[in-house]
Subunit: 549 residues, 2 copies
């Protein structure tokens, strides 16, 4: 028997486009001689559909796609994900299901049992967990269908759930596992995925076909990397990352196999992040039907990196960089920015903000009489820039790219409605120290100094007052980022951090800054998620809390 | 036996303040001769603690409060809510628990079984559901402890869960139910609460003491309204709304009782909303340790209502209103605004924005050459106003109150970083038609025209271009609000709405506007939640979705 796995990029709620894509996958699989084609989790409606699931009309339209796929299944079985209405009155109204469709009809439906409800995932908000588990038989093979998290309770030191669906199905002696996934990317996820599949195959001694989707859904990035593992837990194939692919495999050689070398791509952190972010930009624009981006180019490293990524994602023709020097901007900032714009060949503008700044200070003279220049005037400049960028965006139809990094976002070193504005935050999940590494990678990848070396080596400064340096207000980024990582990604509290050897004053200052700036992050654009814990929907903290603050 | 119920206002993560408040409640109950004092759900740490629960240090500090309460329990039993570490490796790491403390020690712990994970609630994100259920005995009485949602599966046409914890405990013949709640307010919630308690008492024939917390936690408002119901399902007492209270009752008369008239306060929608919003403002400032608010006062009804509410919540001395007329502002706007400011006696400023607007258009002349005045210039004015307000806020330490209403937020009739800016949205969950009703209620309550009649009766306009009216771009608000309510609160899809008799073009236009403006609402301030479905954490929709758009 031949099984195709199809990793595709769906658009949430765009049922016509998703059906067309699924049918195209069916056609490709058929051409490859497949008996079964397996798609990813909730592929008919796109993942995550979030509260659209609360609309009956949305479920009805998902079911219409299932009906259309039935009509295409006369000579090939189709395994696809869709929401199903729970017929019982008790419990949540829906299941998250895998449909096995063949010979024109739905032959079997398996519901998801383990509903990830942590970080960016909210599945128990919508779905009732499955309580019964059965295999199905097709062309003489007993097949176990599972959905994403269903297999993630195995090989886990601190399992989140009290059951494993595969355990329940083993009495029926399945010969192959098919897993439909929509598993959000982070730079640690690729290895975790292989480890989890291996733990399952070692426990159940059955080969697995794992299908993950690809593409960006706002902040959530899906990297594909679908896998086939034989019953000796050797990776037979790993589909490419960040692109669509359909590939077909013979099942027989995977059963009663011998261990060989894994067929696995190299995964280095910076290339993964680069591919993830450029896909994230590209898909955000494509799915919102926009083509062109605008951003403020300061001469600092953050906006330089975002400009480089945007040009790679959208084409330099579609990116407009705006230089908005103030009276505090240094010559090298403008020069470095101009050098970069010329290298890339993207459209640019230079708009001095001093006259606008003066019109504000004149208007505020009666109120500000007797006060001195402070953070207010710094913020004012940042907001004037945002206003200019938004004016260009509104007039000509750009999406404004935000250029804040994760370190700044963490400690609130940014101006709300100023440099924190934008339709999409490109590097808001990239720490400052990683911004440097990624910038070097961009230059290395292009074999060219896209980002001028001077931008990479000079001391970071917001240039909002004379001779300002980030290090005037913040700890050095290499120290700061290490504390932030332990606090944000690893959820280490103050005592643990101090026990780890971090300076108490640094820890207390950093944690306090993170916590008192929750209100700012509440109003930021969606942030492309590349780490295991990004700011945004995966990190939910009270604004009025008083804890470590 | 005498049981005290204590509805209090906790501060999330502020363990010292919460312990002091709990001890004060214990003292009050003791003075009232209580044998037991019952507090609300997760009272030791405040509700909802959200991802603070992922820090071991946070759990440790919660347990320190429990230890301190043990020391205070020599002569009174204390029932209090706290997170508990799950000793099993499998399953989530925590339980949401009710602690029964007496004679210096924890006598019994009941875990919550039904974990609300919908709308603004995310409990399965953190907690493992209870799987075993037992009563406890104290002073000869068998007591069933439940936590909030645990009793909400009864008397429900479409129950969300497949078990009812009280069903499991009935074999042990409890004589009283104690329910610890943290149940977010909406204007429909008070009646739902009484109906649910009654359904439980009718099913189990046991009296119930229901304790709800009070106070605002950012956008979530808790109204108190704690209840005592005898075993004939008569409401014996309803504690006041929106304020703290401790009250003690004899248990004996509630058992084997006869039905009498309910002791229940009148609940009218506008007074409830008024009390909720003023508490929401007051608590947001108090818990963030701010005293003073600023807002833009346009002469329109939205900002007028917010000004009135802010002055009632914080005192007129603590509120500053800024009039920022443009060249398109009408005389009546400034006059109406000034009349209101004089009535209230709050500080005000008048800052004309035309010179600043001209400095922007001058700076953008090269880019905007050949274009005509359009929404860009309208947004520009709104953003200049936000920049002025934020400058005053930064310089003098105000929190900016946002004045957008729910109808505008729904259809995207507002400017991001402009009139959509602010630290807190006061009326973002109040439809425009409700804004009128609430404004009339404010005047009626004060017995005075706080909000000038002319502001209430004139046609709404943003005044960002000559002779602009809201009705130029939007359907009339009475029609619009009806469609929005059915779509947002009731999750009716397009077909249902058309079947209900709404005009197809109106439905399609409205739903499209709501859906394409998800990106704007993503960046708005927290919105005080007064309806069963507010924008914000309770409504989660994809930004890049393409559904009904």
């Amino acid at each position: 028997m031949r099984i195709a796995i199809a990793q595709q990029n769906y658009h949430i709620g765009n049922f016509d486009a998703n059906l067309a894509k699924l049918l195209q996958g069916v056609t490709q699989a058929r051409e490859q001689g497949a008996d079964i084609v397996v798609f990813s989790e909730l592929s008919v409606c796109g993942y995550p559909p979030r509260d659209f699931l609360e609309f009956r009309d949305f479920i009805r339209r998902s079911q219409e796609v299932i009906a259309a796929l039935c009509a295409a299944s006369s000579d090939i079985a189709i395994v696809v994900g869709a929401p199903t209405v729970n017929p019982d009155i008790e419990g949540k109204d829906l299941f998250n299901s895998a449909y096995f469709i063949a010979e024109g009809a739905v032959q079997h439906i398996a519901h998801k049992a383990l509903l990830p409800t942590y970080d960016v995932l909210d599945e128990y908000r919508y779905f009732e967990p499955a309580k019964s588990f059965h295999t199905l038989t097709y062309k003489g093979y007993r097949i176990a269908l599972t959905i994403c998290e269903d297999i993630w309770n195995v090989g886990n030191e601190n399992p989140l759930y009290t059951i494993c669906p595969m355990d329940e199905m083993m009495s029926e002696q399945p010969q192959v596992m098919l897993n439909l996934s929509a598993s959000p990317f982070s730079y640690t996820h690729a290895q975790a995925r292989i480890d989890t599949l291996r733990a399952n195959v070692e426990r159940y001694r059955v080969p697995i076909f794992y299908v993950n989707c690809v593409g960006a859904q706002t902040e959530l990035l899906f990297d594909g990397g679908s896998l086939v593992m034989n019953d000796s837990s050797t990776v037979i194939a790993e589909l490419p990352y960040f692109v669509e692919a359909v590939q077909t495999f013979d099942l027989e050689p995977l059963i009663g196999s011998s261990p060989t070398d894994d067929c696995v791509r190299d995964k280095e952190k910076m290339p993964l992040i680069y591919e993830a972010l450029t896909m994230g930009i590209r898909d955000y624009f494509a799915k919102l039907n926009f083509r062109q981006a605008i951003l403020g180019l300061s001469g600092g490293i953050d906006s330089a990196l975002v400009l480089a990524l945007a040009c790679d994602a959208l084409g330099a023709d579609n990116v407009r960089a705006v230089l908005m020097p103030s009276q505090f901007s240094s010559d090298h900032s403008v020069n470095d920015a101009m050098r970069m714009v010329h290298t890339l060949g993207c459209q640019h503008d230079i708009i001095a903000i001093k006259p606008i700044f003066e019109s504000f200070t004149t208007a505020l003279e009666p109120q500000f009489a007797g006060t001195t220049f402070n953070i207010t005037e710094e913020n004012l400049q940042a907001r004037i820039r945002a206003n200019l960028l938004m004016a260009l965006s509104n007039k000509f139809g750009y999406i404004l790219l935000n250029t804040s990094n994760k370190s700044e976002a963490a400690v609130g070193y940014g101006t709300l409605y100023g440099d924190m504005a934008g339709g999409l935050s490109v590097i808001g999940d990239v720490y400052k120290t990683e911004v440097y590494a990624l910038s070097r990678y961009v230059n290395q990848r292009h074999g060219q100094e896209i980002i001028p070396e001077n931008i990479i080596t000079k001391a970071p400064s917001a240039e909002l007052r004379p001779n300002q340096k980030d290090s005037d207000s913040l700890p050095e980024y290499d120290q700061l980022d290490r504390v932030l990582y332990q606090y944000i990604e690893c959820r280490k509290g103050p005592n643990s951090l101090i026990e780890m050897g971090f300076d108490r004053a640094l820890v207390e200052k950093t944690l306090r800054l993170v916590n008192i700036n929750e209100y700012k992050r509440h109003q930021t654009p969606p942030i492309l998620r590349i780490s295991p814990k990004a700011f945004g929907s995966g990190r939910r903290l009270p604004i009025v809390g008083k804890y470590l603050s």
